[in-house]
C-alpha cells in the first residue's frame, strides 16, 4: 500500500461531514447545507483523482493483484474461538472496472442530490446528517471486497434511507418507509445467511500456512479455497449452492427491483423527497445489479450458467411490464418509478448475455440510468416545488411557460427513450446486441425490443400531456429554472450528451474488467463443477 | 527495634482511638479534629512502611486540604449562631451489629489467610525518583487523566455550588 488511502477517504469523508453537521448549533442551517455540499464536492474531486490514477489495463474480478487502490488490513481477529479457531475479518477495499463507474456515479449523484436538498427546511440538521451517512453507506458498498464489510455498509445505507423517507417524505411516508425497509431487510436476511454459509465453506491460507475461514470474496471465487464439507462448497456433493444462489439473488433482486419484488419502488419514490428519489433511482437500484455482478456471477459461476435464461426472462418482464405499467400512471413520479423498473430490466438482460458487449451495455446502462433518471426526478421535483402537484393530467402546455425547463425535459425524456446522441442509446443497443449474440436468450432479446417502442409511447405521451398543447391557465405564474436548478441539470445534461457521443470515456474504464469477467465466466463453471460432482 | 515497636503501637492507638471518636462524637468540630489525628496516625504508618512521599502527601493534602474543606463545610452548613454544632445518629443498633459482624469476619479472614511475603524483606527504596519515573512513564496516562479529573471536579464543584444562588 504505497498510495494514499483514497478509497477510505472517499468513503468516510461523509462521516466527518456528518460529525461537523451534528456539532453545528441549531441556527446554522446554511452552514450545514454548505458542509454537505462541500463534502460531496470533495468526493467528486477525489473520484476525479482516482479516475486519473486508474490503470485501464488491470482487470480485477477475481484477481486480487489487479484490483486498484487496495487497502487491506486485519480488522477483527479473535483467536481460539470454539471450533473456528481463528475468526478474522479484513478491512479490504479496492476497485476494478466494474466498481469504478459506480464510484463515479455515486460521487456525482450525491453531489447533485445535495444541491437538490437545498430547499429542504424541515429538521435540516438531522436530514443532512442522515444524508451524509447514506452516502458513506453507498460508497462503502461499491468499494468493499470483503463480504462482511459489504454487508455492514449495505445495512448502514438502509437505516438513513428509512428515516429520510419516513421523516421528510410525502403524505404516506410512513407506509412507504416501512415497506422499503422491510423489503430490503427481507433481502438482507437471505444475504446474511448466504454470507455465513460461504464463510463456513471457504478458507484462506495465511502467510504462516494456517488455514482460516474467510469473508474475502476474491477467495470465494476460487474453488480451490473451499473446504471438503462446507455447506456451500462445490466439493461437497450435497451442497446447497443452488438454494444459496437463489437466496442471494433474491436479496439483490429486491434492490433492483426485479418483478415481482418491485412494488416498494413506486411507493418509495412517490413519497420520498426529490433528492432522495434521485439517490434512490440514481445509486441504490444499482446496488442490486452490482451485487449480482460482483457476488452471484463470480462466486457461483456454474449456477449462473444454469439460471441465465431466467435472469434474462425476468429482465424482459421488467422491461415490458414496467413500461406498460408506466403508461397507465397518472402520477408523474410514479410513472418515472415504473420507467426505472423498465430500464433496470435492460441491465438484467445485458448481464444475462455473458458476453462483452452485453455486460458492457449492462454496466453502462447502470450508469446511464443513474444520470438520466436522476434528471427525470429532478425535473419532477422542479414542477412539484412550484405547483405542489404531480398529476400528469393537471398540467399542460408548460413549454410555453417554461421553455428552458422544457428543453432539459426534452433531453431527459429522449434520453430515457434511448435516442442516439444521448448515452442511454449506447447502453440499450449494446444490451440488445449482446443479448442477441447469446443463443439461449435470443428470443427474449427480440421480445425486449418492444420495450423501446413502449418507452417512446409513454414518454412522448407524458411529454405531450404535461408540456405540450395549450397552456393550462392555472399555471401561468410558474417561473422558469433558477440558478440552483441549472446547477443540478446542466452537469447531468453535459455528461449524458458527452457519453452519448463518445462513450469510450466510460467504456474504457470498465472494458478490461468486463473482458476479465467474461473470460472468467466462460471458463470457471467447468472448474467449479468438475471439482464437485 | 523497640523504638519501632513503640512507635507502631503509638500510631495504632492514635489512629483507632481518634477514628472511634470521629464516628461517635456528636460534635462535628470534635469529629473533624479527631479525623485530623487519625490522618496523622495513618501518615505514621506510611513512614513505617517506607513510603515517605505518601506520608508527606497525606499530611499536606488530607490534613492541609481535605480536612480544612470539611471544616468549611461544617461551618457553612451550620448557622454560626447555632451554638451546638452537633449531629445525631440513626440506625445505631443495626449499624453496630452489622459492622461488628463485618469486622469480625474481616479479622477472621485476616487471621486465617497466609500471605505471600517476600521472604527477607528488602530494604525500602527511598526517594521520589522512582515515583517520579513511574508517573512520567508507566502511569503518564492515568496521571494526565487525574489532572483532568481534578480540573473538572474543581469546575464542577464551583458550578454546582454557584447554581442555586442564581
Amino acid at each position: 500500500m504505497n498510495h494514499a488511502p483514497l478509497l477510505s477517504l472517499i468513503t468516510f469523508l461523509p462521516v466527518i461531514g456528518m460529525i461537523i453537521v451534528l456539532l453545528l448549533p441549531k441556527g446554522m442551517e446554511k452552514a450545514m447545507k454548505i458542509t454537505t455540499l462541500t463534502v460531496t464536492f470533495l468526493q467528486i474531486v477525489i473520484a476525479g483523482v482516482i479516475w486519473s490514477g486508474f490503470n485501464y489495463s488491470l482487470g480485477g474480478i477475481n484477481d486480487p493483484n489487479s484490483f486498484q487502490f487496495i487497502e487491506k488490513f486485519r480488522w477483527i481477529e479473535l483467536t481460539g474461538v470454539a471450533w473456528l479457531n481463528t475468526i478474522k475479518i479484513d478491512y479490504f477495499i479496492g476497485i476494478d472496472g466494474i466498481s469504478a463507474p459506480m464510484l463515479m456515479l455515486t460521487a456525482l449523484i450525491s453531489f447533485i442530490a445535495a444541491l437538490s436538498s437545498w430547499n429542504i427546511n424541515k429538521a435540516v440538521k438531522g436530514y443532512h446528517a442522515m444524508y451524509l451517512l447514506l452516502v458513506t453507506g453507498m460508497m462503502g458498498v461499491f468499494v468493499s471486497l470483503d463480504f462482511f464489510l459489504f454487508y455492514i455498509f449495505w445495512e448502514v445505507m438502509l437505516l438513513p434511507m428509512y428515516f429520510l423517507i419516513g421523516i421528510w417524505g410525502g403524505p404516506r411516508k410512513e407506509y412507504a418507509a416501512i415497506k422499503f425497509f422491510i423489503y430490503t431487510l427481507f433481502g438482507s436476511v437471505f444475504m446474511l445467511l448466504v454470507m455465513i454459509g460461504l464463510y463456513l465453506s471457504c478458507q484462506e491460507t495465511l502467510a504462516a500456512g494456517q488455514k482460516v475461514f474467510t469473508f474475502n470474496i476474491l477467495s470465494m471465487m476460487d474453488p480451490k479455497n473451499y473446504t471438503a464439507t462446507g455447506i456451500l462448497s462445490p466439493l461437497n456433493p450435497h451442497n446447497l449452492r443452488f438454494i444459496a444462489y437463489i437466496g442471494l439473488f433474491a436479496g439483490f433482486a429486491i434492490k433492483i427491483p426485479m418483478f415481482p419484488f418491485h412494488t416498494w419502488l413506486p411507493d418509495a419514490h412517490v413519497e420520498a423527497p426529490t433528492p432522495i428519489s434521485v439517490i434512490l433511482a440514481g445509486v441504490l437500484l444499482k446496488m442490486g445489479t452490482y451485487g449480482i455482478l460482483r457476488f452471484n456471477y463470480p462466486i457461483f459461476p456454474e449456477i449462473t450458467r444454469q439460471v441465465i435464461w431466467w435472469i434474462a426472462a425476468f429482465g424482459m418482464i421488467n422491461i415490458i411490464y414496467g413500461a406498460l405499467c408506466a403508461m397507465a400512471q397518472k402520477d408523474f413520479k410514479k410513472l418515472i418509478a415504473y420507467s426505472s423498473v423498465s430500464h433496470m430490466g435492460f441491465v438484467l438482460l445485458g448481464m444475462a448475455s455473458l458476453n462483452t458487449i452485453g455486460i458492457t451495455g449492462a454496466i453502462f446502462q447502470m450508469f446511464n440510468h443513474g444520470t438520466i433518471t436522476a434528471m427525470l426526478f429532478l425535473i419532477v421535483g422542479v414542477i412539484y416545488d412550484r405547483a405542489h402537484t404531480r398529476g400528469i393530467y393537471e398540467f399542460g402546455g408548460l413549454a410555453t411557460q417554461m421553455p428552458i425547463y422544457t428543453g432539459f425535459v426534452t433531453i431527459a425524456f429522449f434520453g430515457a427513450i434511448g435516442l442516439p446522441g444521448i448515452s442511454g442509446f449506447i447502453s440499450e443497443s449494446f444490451v440488445f446486441l449482446g443479448g442477441f449474440g447469446f443463443e439461449p436468450i435470443r428470443l427474449l432479446t427480440i421480445l425486449s425490443t418492444i420495450g423501446i417502442l413502449l418507452g417512446a409511447g409513454y414518454m412522448l405521451w407524458t411529454l405531450q400531456r404535461v408540456y405540450l398543447g395549450p397552456l393550462n391557465e392555472k399555471w401561468n405564474q410558474l417561473q422558469d429554472l433558477d440558478g440552483r436548478e441549472y446547477a443540478m441539470l446542466i452537469p447531468l445534461t453535459i455528461i449524458v450528451l458527452i457519453l452519448g457521443i463518445y462513450p469510450s470515456f466510460m467504456l474504457g474504464l470498465m472494458n478490461t474488467s468486463v473482458n476479465a469477467l467474461v473470460d472468467f465466466m466462460a471458463k470457471s463453471p467447468q472448474l467449479f463443477s468438475s471439482i464437485g460432482m | 527495634m523497640d523504638l519501632y515497636l513503640i512507635l507502631f503501637y503509638f500510631f495504632a492507638i492514635i489512629t483507632l482511638v481518634s477514628a472511634f471518636f470521629v464516628v461517635t462524637t456528636r460534635n462535628v468540630i470534635y469529629a473533624a479534629f479527631n479525623l485530623m489525628l487519625t490522618l496523622f496516625g495513618v501518615a505514621g504508618f506510611y513512614v513505617l512502611l517506607g513510603a515517605d512521599f505518601i506520608a508527606i502527601v497525606q499530611l499536606i493534602v488530607y490534613v492541609g486540604g481535605i480536612l480544612i474543606l470539611l471544616i468549611f463545610g461544617v461551618m457553612l452548613t451550620n448557622k454560626i449562631t447555632d451554638t451546638d454544632i452537633k449531629s445525631g445518629f440513626l440506625n445505631r443498633v443495626p449499624g453496630l451489629l452489622i459492622v461488628g459482624t463485618f469486622a469480625g469476619i474481616l479479622i477472621g479472614t485476616l487471621l486465617k489467610s497466609t500471605w505471600r511475603i517476600a521472604a527477607p524483606l528488602p530494604p525500602p527504596v527511598a526517594g521520589l525518583v522512582g515515583i517520579g519515573n513511574l508517573l512520567m512513564t508507566e502511569y503518564t496516562l492515568i496521571f494526565e487523566i487525574l489532572g483532568a479529573v481534578l480540573l473538572i471536579a474543581l469546575i464542577g464543584a464551583a458550578s454546582i455550588a454557584r447554581k442555586q444562588s442564581n
Partner: protein
Amino acid sequence: MTDMSTLSTFLTHIGLGHFLFISGMLFSLGIYGVVTRKNAVMVLMGIELILNSANINFVAFARYGNYGFHGQLAALFVIILAAAESAIALAIVLNIYKTFNNVNVDEIDKLRE
C-alpha cells in the same frame, strides 16, 4: 531519618497482619460512621476513613510483596481522587443545604418517590 535495614527487620518481625488489622478496623469504623451519621459532613468523614484504610492496605501490600512503588502510586491516586471527591461532595452538600435548609441525610429521602 530512619535506619533502613533495622526498619526492614522490624517490619519482618511485626508482620503484615498488624497493618491489615488496623486497616480493617478503620474500614469498619468508617462504615459505621457512614451508616449511622445524620449529618452529611460526618458521612463524608466516614468515607475518608474508608479510603484511608484502603490506602494502608495498598502501601502495606506493596511493601511486603516487594512491588516497588506501584502500591504507593495507587495510594497517591486515591488521595487525589479523595480530594476531588470531597470537593464535589461538599458542593453537593452546600446545595442540599440551600434546598432543604439542613444537611441531615435522614430527612432527605427524595429517593423514595
